[in-house]
Amino acid sequence: MSTTEVSAVSSLSAKNPKAIVNDFCIQVATANGSGSQTANNVMMRGIFQMGIPVSGKNMFPSNIQGLPTWFTIRASKHGYISRKREVDFLVAMNPETAREDVMKLEPGAAVVYDEPLKLSELRSDLHFYPVPFDKLVGPVCPEAKLRKLVKNMIYDGIVAWVLSIEMEEIHKALFRQFGPKKKKAADLNWGACQAGYEYAAKTFTKTDPYRVERMNATAGKIIIEGNQAAALGCVFAGVTFISWYPITPSSSLVEYTIGYLKRFRHDNVSGKATYAVVQAEDELAAVGMVLGAGWAGARSMTSSSGPGISLMSEFVGLGYYTELPGVIFDVQRVGPSTGLPTRTAQSDILSTALLSHGDTKHPLLFPASPEECFQLAMEAFELAEFFQTPVFVMLDLDLGMNSWMADPFAYPTKDIHRGKVLGKEDLERLGGFARYKDVDGDGVGYRTLPGTDHPQAAYFTRGSGHNEKAQYSEREDDYVNNMDRLKRKFETIRTKLPAPVVELKEKANVGIIAFGSSHYAVEECRDQLLAEHGVETSYLRLRAYPFSDEVRKFIDAHDHVYVIEQNRDAQMLGLMRLDFDPPEIAKLRSIRYYGGLPLDARTLSEEFIRQEGM
């Protein structure tokens, strides 16, 4: 018998450790398909409803049932909602991973676990709360086949007791989750939750330092997934045509959209749909339909992820060259190839910006938050129709599929504009038009829609060489003129995209450039650098490609600039190399993470300090 073990445990329980309030990370380790999602959401919402900022991240396998899954809930009184690398409070339900999960914990962490796993034998510097889940679930759940699911709700009760989460809030969150139609299921789960709470209250002595205390930092806030926010953006942008092919992590974006369309976009009288959704045979067909619909005048979109975007390549080139609107969401996952389908990355940047053969390039938007998923989704449709070109909205699995705390979305103030479309009256007045003529000097021609009631309305759309009048042409001058106009259009696009968000610090010599889901980790990293090292940094958050002039100015204003991104090859930095001049390029440094987990601040600040030689 080891004496150190005894002394470690007794010292923890003897002294009442200094409480750590509203600043920790809970990790629930289960097996995929065990039905833990409900319990995890209820726990997260319970904390949120107590006014404490939270975020929820699901780290799940590419599998239907059986492989390990981890759900982390971070509570942060500072409002940090990126992933916290260190786990403070583990709920170990999965025998497959329990030992490894426990061994990875920092000293002082707490562990609620399934008693038969005997995890307390592994370490003496942790706080263990063993729970006989199988014994507890029997009495509250007579139906044996439901026990696996209901067991999860018991740990909600246990954790509520250990962390002082108010049971009224758990109750509220639980009944909200199940909704009024599933009251029986809610009652059953609530019973399990209470059983857990009562068991903990009569069995345990609290020894760990973690607990929640009511705050007032979540009033009015919502919890939403990025894909869901983007879906709302599509609905309020007035999308009328969707074609898609299912792929993780993008599917839920379209599924949420369909759900909202069914609720809000049917004619009140006839009940008929003001939209069409087609589940296509593959991504090639999906984007082909989107471009066909855009050509005919619908507001059209598709959503996919890396492998699907690769398949769309040929059609996207057609869209660029024939100048057709369409919005394409890329909810990025880890590649190359099938890669890690359920892990997050920002690794389609370079390939998407230049997607397709020949001289092609496309505008990309980079939302960083649910609010921006909503806004930039709407903006993407406006840009696609004004500039008559495919526009990509680059999300990633972390942003798209995880739960984020956000401000409620503001109703759009701008009206929908359908771009330069000539109608019957315009054609009467003009007597005709040339489809690809740069009338306004912005590189954007005027188009007509099929079905326009005028003999002069028609033009011929073709992916082969064409002149201003959309006629077939292989002439050198026609080709060059057209390509130069397309370049001019791209330069106009550069000036009309969502501007970067810039935070300049007077004392900062060093700048940080980041985008998308890296944002919250970067914010926290900058606080860490300031608090722990006294380093002040400026920050520019990209919201679009091609880069606006503000990016150049930002680089010029600093000694050097770190470009933070979630891929191996510094893809965004690569795009900057193509756009900027040697003086700017010389200032660029790279911080990359590409392990597939949501980005955390500590990883960034450690790398920053290492590269700064501090």
């Binding site: 009015g220 919502i222 609905v235 309020f236 942008a237 007035g238 999308v239 009328t240 045509f241 074609s243 909202y260 809000f264 976009r265 004619d267 006839s270 008929k272 749909a273 003001t274 939209y275 069409a276 959704v277 087609v278 296509a280 045979e281 593959d282 090639l284 067909a285 984007v287 082909g288 339909m289 989107v290 471009l291 066909g292 619909a293 855009g294 050509w295 005919a296 005048g297 619908a298 059209s300 040929e314 057609l318 409620p408 979305f409 109703y411 009206d415 929908i416 829609l449 099929p450 079905g451 326009t452 009631d453 003999p455 309305a457 028609a458 033009y459 011929f460 759309t461 073709r462 992916g463």
Partner: protein
């Protein structure tokens, strides 16, 4: 003083007041004698005869010789020459975006039966309201004479090599996977092709017309089963077709037993006169059997193999509003502030 000016003879116009010129396209760049040109001419005639508003038509194609042809008919219609084998997707998107447009697509055997086989089959299964013409010559013309997937076993290329792999029969595929109007014809058979095109316009769902359309440059030689002479010698019409548009009075009495009348969805009629065989084009199984037997005996069977005038289309299934999605106003497509507030409340 007065001079009498003789007015020019009135121009010949159709029922909507347009001349045949208004249905023509630009000059063809295909080879002289190409079967595809004959198909374009029949489209011009049929659409003129029917008095279709050209600017309410959209033309689609993929890539290949056949896919060039939409430029050579209906010059007042919007056209879209897309990518190889993937015209069905573009047409699907466009025709759902505006359900009031009449869509006509031209594809080839490479475009349909090889690179585009997947899209073709999914188009069939959706029964999109659309006319899908395959200009089928069994050969890749633009790349100079390689076999396509519709070339018959034993058919010889210009180089003398014989095709070894069995062909896809596009009509069999169309029948099996859901097209509601399936026909085969020959680019040289003016009467039959015209009747089929008109009936296809009247058809509610997807109309597939496989037109054997010989390639004079790469596949019109001795030993080819897609040459003019081979098709002329081996063609057997399964029946004789007469199309009566909805706006014309049906005055002729049908003689029981020799003529079958099929009423199309728009009120037009197809008068189907029996020839040697007793054939009912509303019987899918009979169609499959007849094609299979003809293929096995070296007969190029032509005619309307199958028609189902009333099967619900993809547009019916999607339950869309009557107005084109493309032109719905913001008041219809953007839900109100109260809706957003409601959703936000649900997420709190």
């Amino acid at each position: 003083m007065s001079t009498t000016v003789t007015p020019p003879p009135p121009k010949k116009v159709n029922r909507i007041g347009l001349e045949v010129l208004n249905y023509k396209g630009s000059k063809t760049t295909l080879c002289a004698g190409c079967g595809h040109n004959a198909v374009s001419e029949r489209i011009v005639e049929s659409f003129y005869d029917l008095g279709i508003q050209p600017w309410n038509v959209a033309k689609f194609s993929g890539i290949g010789c056949s896919s060039k042809s939409p430029a050579y008919f209906l010059g007042l219609s919007h056209g879209f020459n897309s990518v190889h084998g993937r015209m069905p997707a573009v047409a699907t998107g466009a025709l759902l975006a505006n359900r009031s447009i009449l869509g006509i697509g031209v594809s080839g055997d490479g475009d349909t039966a090889s690179i585009g086989l997947g899209q073709f089959m999914h188009l069939l299964r959706r029964n999109l309201p659309y006319i899908y013409i395959i200009e089928n010559n069994g050969v890749y013309g633009l790349t100079k004479g390689q076999f396509s997937a519709t070339a018959d076993v034993g058919s010889k290329a210009k180089t003398g090599s014989a095709n070894e792999l069995p062909p896809f029969d596009c009509c069999m595929l169309a029948l099996q996977w859901g097209a509601t109007f399936v026909a085969r014809t020959f680019s040289g058979d003016k009467k039959q092709l015209t009747a089929l095109l008109k009936a296809a316009v009247a058809h509610k769902g997807l109309a597939v017309i496989d037109v054997i359309s010989p390639c004079t440059t790469f596949n019109d030689h001795e030993g080819s089963t897609k040459s003019y002479s081979y098709v002329k010698d081996h063609e057997e019409a399964i029946h004789e077709l007469d199309f009566v548009p909805y706006y014309e009075d049906i005055s002729v009495e049908i003689e029981e037993g020799t003529v079958q009348d099929v009423r199309m969805h728009d009120g037009s009629h197809l008068r189907i006169k029996k020839l040697e065989r007793d054939y009912n084009p509303c019987d899918k199984m009979a169609a499959l059997k007849a094609i299979e037997e003809a293929n096995n005996s070296g007969v190029v069977l032509t005619g309307l193999f199958y028609v189902n005038p009333e099967k619900p289309t993809f547009v019916d299934m999607l339950n869309m509003v009557d107005a084109p999605l493309a032109t719905l106003p913001q008041s219809v497509t953007r839900p109100g502030q109260d809706t957003l507030d409601q959703v936000m409340e649900e997420l709190r």
